[in-house]
Amino acid sequence: MRRIGGAFLSLAAFLALWKAVTVIGGYPPYILPPPEAVAARAGEAIGSGLLWRHASLTLLEIVLGFALGAGAALVTGVALGKSVVVERVLSPYIVAAQAVPILALAPLLDIWFGGGFLARVVVCALIVFFPIAIATMVGIRSADPLLDEMLRSLGAGPAQRTRLLEIPSALPVVFGGLRVGVTLAVIGAVVAEWASAGGTGLGVLINIANQGLFDTPLMFVALVTLAVLGLAFYGLVVLVERRLIVR
């Protein structure tokens, strides 16, 4: 109750500050719309189904992209953590792929994957892959060698040691990577939407509002929706983490 109260208070303060800036600065709505204008525009966009049409696709891109990227990253991370050879062979490519800005890579992926939904999911997957794979690798290696020896003395094979020791030891670190990854997935979805011309999605909606209509309040609606999506996914990851990790 107290936590909810605190969050409510901070939100109210934020909105008040926002309103104060628009009043004191006297900015026109196409530069900085006041919060009530954004709220009104949000009401319209929700009522007409516009927001849901764009947000639902972005949501799906994030969920699928994150699931795909995180899944691949967990498997790769375990392999990287378990085998120095695998790390030596793969890590240059993984690091290089990460070092190339996703913004520059997105148009290429757009061409490769047919310029639609699939390309966007791939961009999301790619952007979440790195932090999760690296976190998993580091986590797997954080297993206590004394516990590992104890398990070996009991006859546990490599697969059993991974299941009984390495994966549970890795979880706290892996969840650090998942927290970073899930927020990156939101960025990935928008970047991918910008790279592909037209279509649907919150990133597309921002472009339409900005360039075509000069509808800055609608832009804000899209931005706030993205922020809320990011917060919701992050919260979901934290929730799963709390359930899974026994401290």
Partner: protein
């Protein structure tokens, strides 16, 4: 050596034979000889204590018997065969309890059975019984972090005992405990051993503990380790916790101390190096 003890135990204890075993660790900074042509025999059902300075290869010796390490040269035999890790013939207890922090005490004790693939119900029953044997039945549901040092070490002992292995290898399992708790443990260990005569090899730094528990004490030289002298402890059992007043016990303790001092004198410089090593690793 132990005239009041049979050479082999009918209840399933196994003998250990170590013949001319040399073990070298190769590392980035050269090789290190932990054991050098070490030979010793442990009769089935006997209680053997290995004593020696830090780094003399005592723990290495146990790991060879447990099948966790393979000798560079020589032969290790447990009941006639080369040991393999997890072959079920040895139970190993370490200096640290090494309990898995996210498992309950009961699930920690049941771990050997889980690895062996036993069904959950059987595991639970056996683990409960094993906890009872070490007086820890009330702690089954506790997390390892909630256990005191002594309780954690008891749980580790229960884990080593749960499969009732023919050979019990104890690597200074009581060295981190306070003197009083340790005395209790020694008494309990004696009781457990008198109950079921398994082959026990206990590594320790403590001369009183050695005299309290052993059929015979093997005194090791500093690295590279070798058995410098064997002291047979022919005191009747069960032995009381305080043996200091017993003249025969004092005499045997004196013999062990003398053998230790001799071993040190021979390789005093090596020992100084080892002590420095041990401090670094501690």
């Amino acid at each position: 050596m132990t005239p009041d003890r049979p050479a082999a135990d009918a209840a399933g204890a196994l003998p250990i034979a170590i013949a001319d075993v040399t073990l070298r660790f190769g590392g980035r900074h050269g090789t290190l000889t932990a054991l050098d042509a070490c030979t010793l025999d442990v009769p089935a059902g006997s209680f053997t204590v290995v004593i020696g300075p830090n780094g003399c290869g005592k723990s290495t010796l146990l790991r060879l018997v447990a099948g966790l390490l393979q000798p560079t040269a020589g032969r290790v035999r447990v009941g006639g065969d080369a040991p393999r890790a997890g072959d079920g013939r040895t139970g190993l207890a370490f200096q640290q309890p090494r309990l898995v922090p996210w498992r309950s005490t009961l699930d920690n004790v049941a771990l050997p059975l889980e690895i062996a693939g036993l069904p959950a119900d059987d595991r639970r029953g056996a683990a409960t019984a094993a906890l009872e044997r070490v007086g820890l039945a009330h702690a089954a549901g506790l997390s390892p972090r909630e256990l005191s040092g002594g309780m954690a070490q008891r749980a580790a002992l229960a884990r080593a005992l749960i499969t009732d292995p023919p050979i019990l290898l104890l690597d200074e399992p009581f060295s981190a405990l306070d003197a009083l708790t340790r005395e209790t443990f020694d008494a309990e260990l004696q009781r457990l051993w008198l109950e079921r005569r398994r082959t026990v090899v206990l590594v320790t730094h403590s001369v009183p503990e050695a005299i309290q528990l052993a059929d015979r004490v093997l005194v090791m030289t500093p690295r590279p380790g070798r058995v410098a002298r064997t002291v047979a402890v022919d005191l009747p059992r069960p032995r009381p916790p305080d043996l200091a007043a017993d003249p025969r016990a004092a005499e045997l303790a004196g013999a062990v101390r003398e053998a230790l001092a001799e071993a040190h004198a021979v390789e005093l410089r090596a020992w100084a190096d080892e002590s420095a090593d041990a401090e670094e690793t501690a």
